[in-house]
Symmetry: C2
Subunit: 473 residues, 2 copies
């Protein structure tokens, strides 16, 4: 593949889905309510089909339960390198053929590596689905991983890391921010891997990783489109059915030791703008003791950063003009405990300290006064609308099913989302703010620009999360 | 073994060596200059013998090139758990017999796990050496690792962790301090391992670890005492010779990404006293580009913390009475890049901020004014004396040979030490202060006591380094 775009897990996927939906979404929103059909092959492959008849197309995605959070130190980045190698050929289809066949059939395809999954997808006219499935089944077990191509591809990945992280002061700050917040939790490591680790990966390492994780009993096939579920099941059986399952070994749990006070790192690098990151340790759906809490955090995120009338945009950016931009990031579907992240860039003439104070004030406000029912209703409507709008895209529907299945929550959670968000009360929002947005579990990172000295970095991204959290092949 | 004492790598070993030397050292210091004899068996075992005829005793140590810095996340603490299991019996000698035989023969024995090594030792009347070697050879390859005993021992190790780390606010602070300073470097992980990792270790994990690392070609036998080197070689050949070597796989290098600014963590826990840790990233002999730098740092360490007339004791503790205690820690023989650590406890009525300011002033002084030749000479005399005095102990001599061989520096470095220290100039001390004691590579940890609320922790240790850096079996 030539085009490699960065993709943050939810945000960037969302962005991408919107782009795709422009091309794909012909009809209305009834697709969101279509029935989901699930099957399982004897070799363990799960097959999930969702019908969407608005256009004669199909999205096919294969999801592997492996990603950066499965990796160990010394081998970080290996899932992403393997994702690259998946385009380097099998015995039957040498390097590049996969992409050529899909293109020849008018399709698009790509792949991405996340913290908790690695996924490959194709979009095609519906009658071309067999082509995609045949190719995916072939490379699930028969990758050749030639040492020479591996060596070359490693340089491509290193260049990707240089471009996306090492030459991006914000991305570097973000990487060290996560590594400081988490000491034992696997989110400590960046998805793309530490540079030194990538440099020392061997084709034997990647071969072992492929062998350990790429198997039908560690994958989910998600197909959304104008297709008959039984037909899809028949195809899956035909192409994936003959594949042998692997003996899977669950990775060791790596839970984080308690944090007992704030952490702060300063990163001084040549950069144009200062940058602030604040992270709070929060539960996610997988781990939450009270499963309303992640939804309350989702609403809280909307209150601060749910569009132009949200508090950050209204008060910090437009109102007091202390921040040039400010946002939140929270992934309730993460496999492991995660951070609720706030990021902000000071407006010209303002300091990091001033932005920090302004953000702190917003957090205090969330804690001291319950959000009004009116504001809450508006936010909920927006959170829900954005979710429903996203479902307008076949790609995004498949994506959400894939994520939910891969982290073990089950696709059914998708249907609960709207109702769970609607049920959140002002008291619950206040409760999670008081419980989790506290110094005890906080990590702060400040990027303090050094003079650029002629060395102009590539344009800063709005959010480095997108740079380091997902990698499009 | 019943008695389990903590041991910091150099400091505590030093303390222990002094205790032992009181019992052992009969003669003068000429032992330090005795010739070292080295042999290698066909199976790869290195044998190093140093004669010391001052008493009819012998110290035998077997050093394995494996320790916490060889471990991967999810499996941290496994070297230390294995060290415990080494006392749980072989086919020939069931659990406890090893220790009973040594005791019956009037000997002492124990073991310790460090970051870069795991070592086992015995001290005996010289004619009993064959007994120790026979037993060590037996457990190098024939450990039984019974699952039941493993399960029980894991609880012992967890209790050790509770006692030494989880119930020790300083040790917890120290652990998180190192984890913050190093993100990819293996010193990120504590020697004893993260609690969650220890809990999930299985006997199969430990069996694999044993199989991978405990082999003659990954070990060094060090014998110091009133013995004939040829005799020792013969014994080693007889007992260790029949053992099969292993195919060793070098661990992946895990070098630390550049740090671009200061990091600071606050740990708020019920405790009696506040505590300050400041760490600077520094080179060690293994990695130093200029190999005088580690010696200059060693001298610098002496200037600040080389006894009662050193600057910390004279100015911070006795003079301005701002600190109740203040010290430095630096291990020039570490396998990986490490920290130069300063720790301090505020005197009653003084704050962490005041101590911090006082320490910063001392560092500024090192940078701005070269140390006088007079002060330097006094410090060097002390550093050298302490080194020579330590060599008075057979145990310590063996220990230093073992460490130097195990990290790959070679025992010959021992002989260079005095001369290298003596060669350090005031300008060199100033140069390393200016180059390394800087914000860019600094990590600070502050323990801020919360009220004890009836829960009295066990007496705080002077240095938590001793708690987490080494574990006596």
């Amino acid at each position: 593949m030539t085009g490699r775009r960065p993709a943050g897990p939810m945000r960037a996927i969302h962005a991408m889905a919107l782009v795709l939906s422009a091309a794909l979404a012909a009809g209305a929103a009834q697709a969101a309510d279509a029935k989901v059909h699930t099957f399982r092959l004897d070799n363990g492959l799960k097959v999930i089909v969702k019908q969407d008849h608005r256009a004669p197309v199909v999205v096919s995605q294969i999801w592997y339960k492996v990603g950066a959070s499965y990796e160990n130190d010394g081998h970080t980045g290996i899932s992403h390198v393997l994702e690259h190698m998946m385009f380097k050929g099998t015995k039957r289809h040498p390097a590049g053929e996969f992409s050529r066949i899909i293109a020849r059939n008018g399709g698009r395809e790509n792949a991405f590596t996340g913290r908790d999954y690695t996924a490959y997808f194709q979009q095609l006219a519906k009658d071309r689905l067999p082509i995609a499935l045949k190719l995916e089944a072939d490379r699930m077990r028969h990758l050749t991983l030639p040492p020479k191509a591996f060596k070359k591809e490693l340089q491509v990945v290193l260049e990707e890391r240089r471009m996306r992280t090492d030459d991006q002061p914000r991305a570097l700050t973000y990487e060290q921010f996560y590594a400081t917040a988490f000491m034992a939790n696997p989110y400590h490591h960046p998805i793309i891997g530490w540079k030194n680790d990538i440099e020392h990966l061997t084709d034997a390492d990647v071969r072992r990783w492929y062998h350990d994780w790429y198997a039908p009993n560690n994958a989910t096939l998600v197909v959304v489109g104008d297709v008959d579920p039984k037909w899809v099941y028949g195809l899956a059986k035909r192409y994936f059915g003959p594949l042998e399952p692997s003996k899977l070994t669950a990775p060791k749990p790596r839970s984080e030791p308690a944090q007992n006070g704030p952490r702060k790192i300063t990163v001084s690098l040549p950069a144009e703008l200062p940058y602030l990151l604040i992270g709070y340790k929060v539960p996610v759906l997988k781990s939450a003791e009270h499963d309303w809490e992640p939804y309350a955090l989702e609403v809280l995120s909307g209150i601060l950063d749910g569009g132009d009338s949200a508090r950050f945009a209204r008060d910090l950016v437009r109102g007091r003009q202390v921040a040039a931009s400010a946002g939140t990031d929270y992934d309730l579907y993460a496999l492991h405990n995660d951070l609720f992240v706030i990021d902000a860039t000071p407006a010209q003439g303002h300091t990091l300290a001033q932005v920090r104070t302004a953000v702190d004030r917003e957090i205090e406000r969330l804690k001291s006064r319950p959000v009004s029912q009116k504001e809450l209703d508006r936010i909920k409507a927006q959170v829900v609308a954005s979710q429903v709008y996203q479902r307008d895209s076949m790609f995004y529907q498949a994506m959400q099913i894939g994520i939910l299945e891969t982290v073990g929550l089950g696709w059914q959670r998708l249907d609960e989302y709207v109702q769970r968000i609607r049920a959140i009360t002002p008291a619950q929002v206040q409760a999670v703010a008081r419980k989790y947005l506290v110094d005890k579990g906080m990590t702060v990172a400040e990027l303090k620009p050094l003079p650029l000295q002629g060395k102009r970095p590539r344009g800063p991204r709005a959010r480095p999360g997108g740079t380091v959290d997902g990698h499009m092949h």
